[in-house]
């Protein structure tokens, strides 16, 4: 990593070289996702360029960071197995890679995770341990201590951040004149990697985070100039189950405070409207977390481009919820 080794004094930041190395490492496992031009509902000639990470084999960008991590510790992972915690998409990514690479995987999931996400992880052959949200971050470390598993962190890790940064690398290649990039924020791994990549390649471009207003810990952190934690009793209210992490990771925070201009928030109703618009006009199935950036754009909550792009991820949605949203109802 292109940084000093004393995090107390100087933040460790991933650089373009780390992200380019990650891109080469993971190329055989991830999809080079397309950029889909989505018309604005009120102004059809106004387009949002959607980087469709929902089309990854596991439905989300999380595959990139997990892959960049596991491939760097593959020998230990083969010998001891891997453990990960996740509300869903990181879990699925680790389970999918473990299945493909022939590794044993144990996945710690919050007991409020949607049944469809739990079932998808089990279908890939991983062992699932359901725990209360409050101990979701500590339980994997206990399992590492007890069983020697290799830990694959969901976001607070420089290898993971470099992996997620490959989304930004591809986006700037696909859309060289991009001015504004909208990125969903939860633990912060994606926006950390993407902001490092985009600002290195397009110094004038602005990277803007998007969060549910019911889980707006990162927006509050950026305003306060320090990491602010929201308890799970607050963040678990939003329909966007993929964006409920209670506080930015330490490594992601160092990137966010340096590279990110602004974090805006969207309501759950705005998220549902964006899910519907993405399905009908973008032909993309997304879960609520995947629609957050589009919600901010279509409700004119972010500065306009001229060339605005957004990450759309993930795509693992409860069929009943999507059915309800398409029918114009707010709940299944």
């Amino acid at each position: 990593m292109t940084a000093t080794r004393n995090p107390a004094e100087t933040p460790q930041l991933v650089g373009l070289d780390d992200i380019r190395a990650a891109a080469g490492r993971i190329a055989d496992f991830v999809l080079h996702t397309p950029v889909i031009a989505l018309p604005h509902p009120g102004r059809p000639d106004n387009l949002l360029h959607c980087k469709a990470e929902s089309l990854q084999p596991t439905g989300a960008f999380k595959l990139r960071g997990a892959c960049n991590t596991i491939l760097q510790v593959l020998d230990q992972a083969r010998e001891r197995g891997v453990v990960a915690q996740s509300s869903g998409n990181h879990a699925r990514a680790v389970a999918w890679l473990a299945h493909r690479l022939g590794l044993r995987a144990v996945i710690v999931m919050p007991d409020a995770a949607p049944a469809s996400k739990v079932a998808a992880v089990r279908a890939l052959g991983a062992e699932v341990e359901l725990v209360p949200a409050a101990i979701r971050d500590t339980r994997p470390l206990e399992l590492v201590a007890e069983h020697g598993y290799v830990h694959v962190p969901p976001y607070d890790d420089l290898r993971v951040i470099a992996g997620q940064g490959t989304v930004g690398l591809e986006l700037v290649e696909q859309l060289p004149d991009v001015d504004v990039v909208l990125v969903p924020v939860s633990g912060g791994g994606l926006i950390a990697g993407m902001s490092a990549a985009v600002t290195a390649l397009r110094p004038g471009a602005r990277v803007i985070g998007v969060e549910p207003e019911l889980a707006a810990d990162a927006a509050e952190s950026l305003r306060a100039g320090r990491r602010v934690e929201w308890g799970p009793e607050r963040t678990y209210r939003t329909v966007a189950d993929g964006l409920r992490t209670t506080v930015l990771g330490g490594h992601p925070w160092q990137h966010v405070r340096r590279y990110v201009d602004e974090i805006v928030t969207v309501s759950d109703d705005q998220i549902r409207a964006a899910m519907r618009h993405l399905a009908i006009e973008g032909r993309l199935v997304v879960e609520p977390a995947g629609a957050a950036t589009v919600a901010a754009w279509m409700h004119d909550l972010v500065p306009a481009g001229p060339t605005t792009a957004a990450v759309v991820s993930g795509g693992s949605v409860d069929p009943a919820l999507l059915s309800a949203v398409l029918a114009g109802r707010s709940t299944a």
Copy 2:
């Protein structure tokens, strides 16, 4: 075109050179669509490689053929305007290109076309004329005679066939070991171009057509060794409004009889099940026509690969129908 000029004696067939020229011509207007690996509902390690043409800006492969045609007659089109007939996706493609190129467009649509497709065409600034299905093919020629418009045919045209063939060119590049290619059949332009491309590049690969059993004129034609027409009172029964053409075009038929191994049929219930599977496991929104190939594969109606691919197109679906399908109901 690589063929003699007397169709009565020798069929005119598009060749790889025509298709490669089309690919270069249309590159700035069409999306290089991704191939999405879709797990089988019963055997998750068994994958169908879906060429996601539903992600084109107008939701379907039709953009390719229309673009390859219009760009070859652009001066006349600018001067006189264009006319096209279509149940929806060709209409939308021509209207979108006309809007982008600044051309006047008149679109003849059957009066049974879904309201959403008609509205999409009008939103692009095209003039729509709704006619009974029986005269949908002849009315555009009257308009050409009356007003001098340039006609953009939906399928029975070698420029259109070469344009649709670019799907096959891309597919073989993306999936060089493809063995079986499933293609939806209506007027036959897509399967004509794709079968020409795929059999030239992969002589061992099999191209198999898929049709609704309620609109199975092409399957009957291939069995009979001659073009058989079904009346619109029969083909208009299927939910797959994109696959209701009553007879293969003459040029497509010459390609089908030469290059296509088999045409299989699927029920409307099988199509609805495939729409649901594509949405949940493939994260792709498709209309019934777009799910036909997947329906044949997931219900084990086609020979297995080892490497099987399918065209998934189009993606313009009535939200109420998709909502119903996701909720497990057969109608909106």
